[in-house]
Subunit: 150 residues, 2 copies
Amino acid sequence: MTIFTRIDHVGIACRSLRSSIEFYQSTFGLEVAHLEVNEEQGVTEAMLSVGPSGSYVQLLEPLHEDSPVGKFLARRGEGVHHIGYAVEDISEAMAEIGGTGVRVLDSRPRHGSMGAAIAFLHPSDVGGVLTELVGRQATSSGEKRTSRDS
Amino acid sequence: MTIFTRIDHVGIACRSLRSSIEFYQSTFGLEVAHLEVNEEQGVTEAMLSVGPSGSYVQLLEPLHEDSPVGKFLARRGEGVHHIGYAVEDISEAMAEIGGTGVRVLDSRPRHGSMGAAIAFLHPSDVGGVLTELVGRQATSSGEKRTSRDS
């Protein structure tokens, strides 16, 4: 069974959201679809649409140095922080993947960009890639909810 | 103008292509669309389809330690090596992006996965992200060629 249905986004850590947005706009023609502060994750972030297929470049600027993205920048500098893959059903995906032995870092879905319900997988269990599962609310049937209030 | 039309692939450096393929298949349900040895780039690589939109996870195992991916593994370990974005016309994209001051590492398109014509951008000019332009042959009009023989 296919669990990943799309590359939802590439999460890129940057020091200045403003200048990174300007760079991606002026150099590659990408436009901002969404801007958001996520206090829980300690970031200000921008989602830039890449083509019509629902994929994004996600630019992440830390709100403070001891946030995960702040620590990443201090350790490795600017660059790719994580990869987000779309899944049909976030809870099902968490259960299936967790069942294979990969550590799911969230016990239940939490709030991601643009109202998505998300969960992270431990990078050591995914070949060094911090991997995010992204369940967007605008899909099919069922009890899907965003976890904006989680 | 939009230059990037799709996230073509996420390029992931791994030590064992065989075990990484098996992991992505069994854990996330991704299937191998293509396997290839690219002597020029010093890698054996697998393209795994992610959904119907033409995006891939590209797994890269170095052919030898002093190849770019071999050095990356020695320095940083397994993880995301580069991001590939689809462009309509590779030569136009190289010229436009080069014109903004970003260093294009290839003077002309070279051979990438699945017959694509590709070029890399200097990561220091793209916020720490090694960025690949991917022109697939199955697009629109014009003189598009793959650079398989370059």
